[in-house]
């Protein structure tokens, strides 16, 4: 991302949470790479023993959709824009661990090929936008699905909205801590500002994710696993 000299204001430059080079200190960037490596390794370990046949095309569809959706910055108040992260949606479609593989691939291609997010910040960009969103988003969705218990209605879409809004807030929270730890901006300055902006961006994320899940449930309900209280065997997929 060209932060210093924007080539043209007419070009979209999406980065609601993509941290550019220069914002993170060396040690902080190293912690990011370590965290991302650990979680991607767990994701590979989980998925290389239990990936279902249906998951492969769904992973491809999710990757295509998330990449395209992340280009579509939508305006929020105050001359600011945001875009979906999509970790919650991906996790609902393919499960949390396969979602980490998908999100890491998307964020990796964005960083390496499109210079969206810095190389030094790639670890934390993967962790913030791929790991936190997939795990927390799936966890909250799982609880909402148990609560809805297979019933049609507003419970599940509302739960999906809350899950995805929460992941944006948590990712913004994590980003603030990383920026503060790097000495880029003091926490009492950056944290309230980040949370305020992303509370609005999260509404967009929540609406789009809830709409997408509702659309898939209406057209292809077989694609989405809905955990139920009466299910014979629960557990993370």
């Amino acid at each position: 991302m060209a932060y210093i000299s924007l080539p043209s204001p007419a070009l979209p430059y999406p980065t609601p949470l993509h941290i550019p080079d220069g914002f993170l200190s060396g040690p902080v960037a190293g912690v990011g790479y370590a965290l991302a490596t650990v979680f991607v390794a767990i994701a590979v370990w989980r998925t290389n023993r239990s990936l279902g046949e249906k998951s492969v095309p769904l992973m491809g569809v999710a990757a295509a959709f998330i990449f395209a959706a992340q280009m579509m910055n939508f305006p929020v108040a105050g001359g600011t824009s945001g875009h979906v992260l999509g970790g919650t949606l991906t996790a609902i479609l393919v499960g949390p661990w396969a979602a980490i593989i998908v999100m890491t691939s998307v964020v990796g291609v964005q960083g390496l090929m499109f210079q969206d997010g810095g190389l030094s910040a790639l670890g934390f960009n993967v962790f913030n936008m791929g790991v936190i969103t997939a795990l927390v988003g799936y966890g909250v969705y799982y609880l909402a699905a148990l609560f809805a218990n297979g019933q049609r209605g507003w419970v599940l879409p509302t739960g999906v909205f809350v899950a995805s809004w929460l992941t944006v807030m948590l990712a913004a929270f994590a980003t603030s801590i990383e920026l503060a730890a790097s000495g880029t901006s003091p926490l009492h300055v950056v944290l309230p500002a980040m949370m305020g902006v992303h509370a609005l961006i999260g509404i967009g994320e929540g609406l789009i994710t809830a709409a997408a899940v509702t659309f898939v449930l209406a057209t292809r309900p077989d694609l989405i696993e809905q955990p139920q209280r009466v299910a014979p065997q629960g557990g993370l997929s």
């Binding site: 060209a2 609601p16 280009m71 910055n73 090929m113």
Partner: protein
Amino acid sequence: MTKKGYVALLLVGIGIALVIALFSPLASSKPDGLERVAEDKAFVDKGKDAPYEVIADYAFPWVDNEDAATILAGILGVLVVTALVLALGLGLRALSRRAAIAGTNLAGPAPPASAGGKTGPKER
């Protein structure tokens, strides 16, 4: 679902993504969340440009029309991430199948004695 069903699902999904990419020039070009905060809180200058550029700012090089450059970058990105994730997914699926055959998949090796819970293991 049949093999054909999977391919159809994939094509529809990629199709939706490509349609979204066609609309990418309409995306808001206002500074996004982190950028806005970086500008307001005066740390935007700490940002550095990437050490190298391939398709920076989602603008396909050698294309003068900005809208066309953005759309081409979007289409290329969609195809690249999809191919990458499908390759990874197929690899992980192949490993999962081997694990299932070897009986070492996650659901496989749980011994019945450990599944008893509070009431204690029940021998069958």
